[in-house]
């Protein structure tokens, strides 16, 4: 076996793992903290990607600038969506169905606006796609590195916010015992709206990075299902560090499997890992067991 190839696989696996983590944190937070299995996150990623494609192509905006545009836009969308869920008073099961409905609607809207053709930001508008940095002799795409850094920033930032700030403590209190949180002055609704905004914004950001180096198509969400759910479950619901760790594991395992058994084996190994986790550690790999 080629050691260089393996090293390359591990390093790029780690990087792509960062992207996986960013794609998954939104769903993980929504499921773990808001008790809403929000399939619409898949389409938030998709829309984030297409929006990036459109604005960079039409107006020549720098792809990295899209981060500042997408974040607030998606934050508001997520907050509004949460208000809708609150209004509809949905339980976990019905949230799955409703967000599935949203998933279908958004996906076909994307298809209507941008057609089913493959889209890619032209290299003029996106100089980063072809740029690589050599680290230890391994070529790494710039967008992938950027995505990894962004994922680390998001995971660390969210984790710190959850553990150190008043808002973060309020979130955790609401998740563990909403009634008691309320008794101490926390408004669970406000917390949920903000959190949903953040979760949605993260998904939108993942889309920005995807647009930077991948070819876009409206059906790409389906390929994400397996990876994102693997990361969410392996990482433990609602845990940003968990998502980062699980994203990297999924990325590396996939990369190594590709080198060892060929590219087709990567999903198999990933999903077997997911099934093992579902059966033996449904709370995730990184969760301290408390009970």
């Amino acid at each position: 076996m080629d050691v260089d190839l393996l090293a390359q696989a591990v390093v790029s696996g780690v990087l792509i793992g960062g992207l996986y983590a960013m794609m998954s944190i939104g769903l993980s937070l929504s499921w773990g903290a808001l008790k809403i299995i929000n399939l619409a996150h898949f389409t938030f990623i998709l829309i984030g990607a297409y929006l990036t494609y459109q604005l960079t192509t039409s107006f020549g905006i720098d792809p990295f600038l899209m981060i500042v545009i997408v974040f607030p836009l998606f934050f508001v969308a997520g907050a509004l969506l949460q208000l809708f869920f609150e209004w509809a008073k949905v339980d976990e099961f019905r949230s799955l169905l409703i967000s599935f409905g949203l998933f279908i609607i958004f996906t076909s809207l994307v298809r209507t606006v941008w057609t089913a053709d493959f889209r890619r930001i032209s290299s003029e508008d996106n100089p980063y796609a072809s740029a690589s940095i050599f680290v230890f002799g391994v070529a790494l795409q710039v967008p992938l590195i950027a995505a990894f850094i962004a994922a680390v920033v998001i995971a660390v930032g969210t984790s710190l916010a959850l553990s150190r700030t008043h808002f973060g403590r309020a979130v955790r209190a609401v998740v563990q015992d909403a009634e008691m949180a309320r008794a101490f002055g926390i408004d669970p609704r406000r917390v949920a709206v903000i959190l949903s905004g953040l979760a949605t914004a993260y998904s939108g950001l993942a889309g920005v990075f995807i647009a930077m180096f991948q070819v876009l198509s409206p059906t790409m969400t389906f390929a994400w299902f397996g990876i994102v759910f693997s990361v969410v479950i392996l990482g433990g619901l609602g845990s940003p560090y968990g998502a980062l760790g699980a994203g990297i594991i999924v990325g590396v395992v996939g990369g190594v499997a590709t080198v060892v058994w060929g590219p087709l084996s990567a999903p198999l190994v990933t999903f077997l890992l997911l099934i093992a986790a579902l059966l033996f550690r449904p709370a995730g790999l990184f969760r301290r067991s408390t009970a």
């Binding site: 409703i98 599935f100 299902f225 759910f229 087709l264 999903p267 198999l268 999903f271 579902l278």
Partner: protein, 390 residues
Amino acid sequence: MTTRNKTLIGFAIAAVVLGLVPNVVDVLNAPGFYLTFMFTMFFWISQASSWNILTGYSGYFSFGQGAWFGIGVYTTGILAAKNGWPFLVALPVAGLVGGAAGLLLGLVVFRLRRLSGEIFALTTLAVSFVLASVARLTSLIDGGRGIFMTGTPLPEFLGDFRTSMYRMTLVIALLTVLTAYLIFESRLGWGLFSIRDDEQVARGLGVPTFRYKMIALGTNAFFGALMGGVWALQIGFITVEDVFNIRVPLLVILMAVLGGMRHWMGPVVGAAIIYTLTDRLNSAGLADLNQVIIGALLIVLVLGVREGIYLRIRARWVASAVIFFGAMAVLTVFDVTSSLIWDFSYALLITMVMLLIPTPLWERLTPRRIAEPPGDPPPELPVPSGKAST
């Protein structure tokens, strides 16, 4: 006569009438797409009904329909197309392989730990992903090359390809719905309903929950794979991407939820409605709009018609019948559209609009008597005995 006998006679009549359709189409020299339209509907009715036996009855939410479907497709693909088995011998084997796979999964997930709802759902989803990967990797199954079904010979007594497809899917759909009905009206069914409502209490009352869940999952997988086995022929060229995608489970969920998961007829009605809408909008070149409508419909129904369309129809059966058949009659007589299928779908749409009227508003619009199906006594309000003063 008992309700059960009436229903069974209904099944027999449906079987005979639907069984004669190819002959009628032949005699009238009607276009062949009528048969295609109907057998595709049978496919979805069977898929949705079999899914509902597990999820609607027992409450264990499954994303795994694609797995059972795919097992069926690939089993007949391998046996009939690659190894030359007679198709009608390969077909039941497909069902059995699917059923066995279902039981195997059940053995693991129901025994190993009591999985909560979402974890069970995701496990079933993951199983179809794994199967897809295995199929893609293994050259014995697919190996990324796909399987051509087009040369597979079918017995002559089934008729030409379309008619054969029609007859096979009809038989399987009837069997699936009949099974769903028989379970619905049995101890097994009631045991499953009690599991859905409160599994702990069900066990405490003596329901053998493990065995019942296994039967439900096995039956679901069996019929899913059996129909998948037939569908391999319709696909023609089997690829992993076409078979193990998220489409089958998603549509099946939609259909059952829309029609209503609490009744055996719910998925039948849901499948008929969704498939008709999808088919028409696609043929009108509005595939994307179609998806938007279906997604919106799902949201509206989940929020507004929690019991599902079928029970709504029962509660408003007079209005439904009048509007549907009235619309059909008007559309056909005045020849508004180009085909019967269009008439059917317009009538369906109009009826749906009526069904979406919220119950409180509906009750104010109609005198109560008319909305009541005959034979069913009006639900009596309980007499509060010594109710707490508030």
